[in-house]
Amino acid sequence: MTTLTNPDTDERLELAPDVPWQTVVWDDPVNLMSYVVRIFREYFGFSHDIATKRMLEVHHDGHAVVAEGAREQMELHAQAMHNYGLWATVRKAPQ
């Protein structure tokens, strides 16, 4: 008999949190690398090293995940990126 506190269910909830969304910044040929690093530092509070690493991911891999969490929060981050002129999208985190 299934109870409300089924341990299997609890475990699945932990493995699949209800916040599987990401803010993704995409490469564009216009924005300066130094500008992208600055935005990542300013807005996300990344260290210079992390900001540079994310920027290089964008540059070399075409995109980088800069945040993960609730959908509404990811939309706010994307809008903030748009405010700086970066090309940002929101997507469900790949399972």
Partner: protein, 153 residues
């Protein structure tokens, strides 16, 4: 806020003021312009309906911010005293009380120019096009401002 002195030649300052003025007109009357659409990109590339919904909520705010930033830059540039044409190559200091609107505005103008030049979509662009020189020049000046800002962090 980062207060900086930005040194340009007078002819550069005049060009910049002109570009910023054109940019202000563009964002205030921007319906259906692909260059302006780049300033409010699709947030869900695979879901046109969700993207439209997001844009309907954010577009006016984003373009309002662009207009506000550009007005700040225009006001900073307007404080430069006029000089005769003989002074075109002489340096002039622009006093910038808040650098952020400058960085965002110069970046946004470059996005618009890139869209006009076909740079944004990776299409072939003519490097002899005088507008390309303008785009490169803006990038050079923006890079300089970013370096100033980096030293302030």
């Amino acid at each position: 806020m980062t207060h900086v002195i930005f040194t340009l030649t007078r002819v550069e300052a005049a060009h910049l003021a002109d570009l910023v003025g054109q940019f202000q007109a563009l964002v205030e009357n921007s319906e259906g312009d692909p260059a302006v659409d780049r300033l409010t990109p699709d947030v869900y590339p695979d879901d046109a309906e969700a993207s439209r919904e997001f844009r309907s909520v954010t577009r006016d705010d984003l373009l309002g911010r662009r207009a506000h930033d550009a007005a700040t830059v225009a006001a900073d540039l307007a404080r430069i005293e006029t000089a005769s044409v003989n002074e075109a190559l002489s340096p002039v200091d622009v006093s910038i009380a808040d650098l952020e609107p400058w960085l965002r505005t110069l970046s946004a103008i470059r996005l618009v120019l890139a869209s006009r030049l076909g740079i944004a979509d990776g299409a072939e662009h003519d490097e002899d096009d005088p507008a390309y020189g303008l785009y490169e020049w803006l990038g050079y000046r923006l890079e300089g401002l970013i370096q100033v800002a980096e030293n302030e962090i």
